[in-house]
């Protein structure tokens, strides 16, 4: 139990630092940045209380906002992602979720990718809608969502495979 807590705290801090010090400054093609801190929300233990996940996501989003001067957009997007996570888990893993027996280190790679892709698109859509905050710029919102999502999905899947699937 304690090791789960420790792992999650370390993950929280590491992802926060990597996000604000490296990923926010990539600016691929001028504006495309990956938002890999949502890996924390993806990998949060499933059996833990959902309220804790909501609070932790809010805190993480708020910290990112603090560093990138963006008001509350990351907090809003992260909390939404945390809230819809059970739906995403159910649609991507099906029976495994019903039995509460998902282990991200051993699941099929296909289900994992679909889970992360769905979550990333939801998160990024809310993030950019709030950041641009103007319905007449809907094309810009969709464009940013699409390109940043591709970047985030590739990086997230790679990071998860690299750091958590090898412990057999």
């Amino acid at each position: 139990m304690n090791s789960v807590l420790a792992v999650n705290i370390v993950r929280f801090v590491l992802l926060l630092l990597v996000q604000v010090l490296i990923c926010n400054h990539i600016n691929f093609f001028g504006y495309i940045n990956p938002y890999i801190y949502i890996i924390f929300i993806f990998l949060f233990p499933i059996r833990e209380e959902r309220l804790i996940l909501l609070l932790a996501s809010f805190l993480l989003g708020m910290m990112i906002d603090l560093f990138s001067d963006s008001g509350g957009v990351h907090a809003a997007a992260a909390v939404s992602l945390a809230y819809v996570r059970p739906i995403l888990l159910k649609s991507s893993f099906g029976m495994l979720y019903e039995h509460q027996s998902i282990k991200f280190s051993t699941t099929e790679i296909g289900s994992l990718i679909s889970y992360i892709s769905l979550g990333t698109v939801v998160h990024h859509l809310i993030l950019f809608s709030l950041e641009i905050f103007n319905i007449s710029n809907i094309l810009l919102i969709l464009q940013k969502t699409l390109f940043s999502s591709i970047f985030t999905i590739i990086l997230s899947v790679l990071i998860i495979i690299l750091f958590s699937r090898n412990k057999k």
């Binding site: 630092l17 604000v20 010090l21 926010n24 600016n27 001028g30 504006y31 495309i32 940045n33 959902r50 309220l51 909501l54 609070l55 809010f58 989003g61 708020m62 906002d65 603090l66 560093f67 990138s68 001067d69 963006s70 008001g71 509350g72 957009v73 907090a75 809003a76 909390v79 939404s80 945390a82 809230y83 709030l130 950041e131 641009i132 905050f133 710029n137 810009l140």
Partner: protein, 273 residues
């Protein structure tokens, strides 16, 4: 009463989600209105310290380009100094009258963003260095933005690449003024609006600060005219300005304080009554 408690307990996840989401939404909406983004901003000890540590490593990689920029600027200043000396040689100036009008502070950029629709920079000078809100920030090439928030050791700059930014600017060859905005597209271009149709606008002309706002001195370069079109209303030009500054690469900046600003402000307010 029992039922209310039951309802709260049954829907506790949803209620917490709504609560947190509305807090975040409130902060977002606040950050979209000028001068109210007070609570969540990068001008504080935690973020400033972390960005500072990062910057102390990062700046070594830019030493060569920084040196080139400084040498170029020194050359320019030296030229101006020599020309200045020869023109005022014959006149006598009593130094007690030559009170300086502007105070200049140098600062390091700890954080710079240009990919979002509302961009801010974080600088390593704050209240302790008598940096206040509404001071102008520039580099040797041109303007960067206006200070919009300060803490003890750090300050935040509202970049010209920000939808909330409005800066008074004019065409160098004439005195036709307009207001400088950003449409959120490219970090290389800003837009100058409300320029009168009487102005002789030519592609390649220089745009500089107008000096009307008393934040920036008159005549600091901003950029050159890349293209222009007539506004839908037909009375004004909308001009696309290519910036002198590469906003994606800003290392050292100057903070300009107009020491006579209060006097100008008081005068303008007293006449308005």
């Amino acid at each position: 009463m029992q039922q209310i408690f039951n309802f709260v307990i049954r829907n506790k996840t949803f209620l917490l989600f709504i609560l947190l989401f509305s807090i975040a939404l409130t902060l977002t909406i606040q950050s979209h209105s000028y001068h109210r983004s007070k609570f969540i901003n990068s001008a504080n000890g935690l973020t400033g310290g972390l960005y500072g540590a990062m910057n102390s490593v990062d700046q070594y990689f830019n030493l060569k380009t920084e040196n080139d920029i400084l040498a170029e600027e020194n050359k320019l200043l030296r030229e101006q100094l020599l020309n200045f000396k020869t023109t005022i040689d014959s006149t006598f100036i009593d130094s007690s009258y030559a009170k300086s009008k502007y105070r200049v502070t140098t600062a390091d950029v700890y954080k710079n963003s240009y990919a979002a629709t509302n961009n801010y920079l974080t600088l390593n000078k704050g209240k302790k260095d008598s940096i206040k809100r509404d001071l102008g920030v520039m580099t040797s090439n041109g303007i960067i933005g206006i200070i919009d928030n300060t803490s003890n050791k750090y300050s935040r700059v509202l970049s010209i690449l920000n939808k909330k930014s409005r800066i008074n600017a004019k065409i160098k060859s004439t005195n036709h003024i307009g207001s400088l905005k950003w449409n959120g597209d490219s970090p290389m271009f800003v837009q100058l609006e409300d320029v009168s149709q009487f102005a002789p606008v030519k592609i390649g002309d220089t745009i500089e600060t107008g000096g009307e706002s008393s934040i920036f001195p008159k005549g600091i370069g901003i950029g050159t005219i890349a293209s222009f079109e007539t506004d839908i209303g037909g009375d004004t030009y909308n001009i696309e300005v290519k910036l002198f500054n590469d906003m994606t690469n800003v290392g050292k900046v100057y903070i300009i304080e107009n020491l006579e600003r209060n006097e100008i402000y008081n005068l303008e307010n007293s006449t308005n009554e």
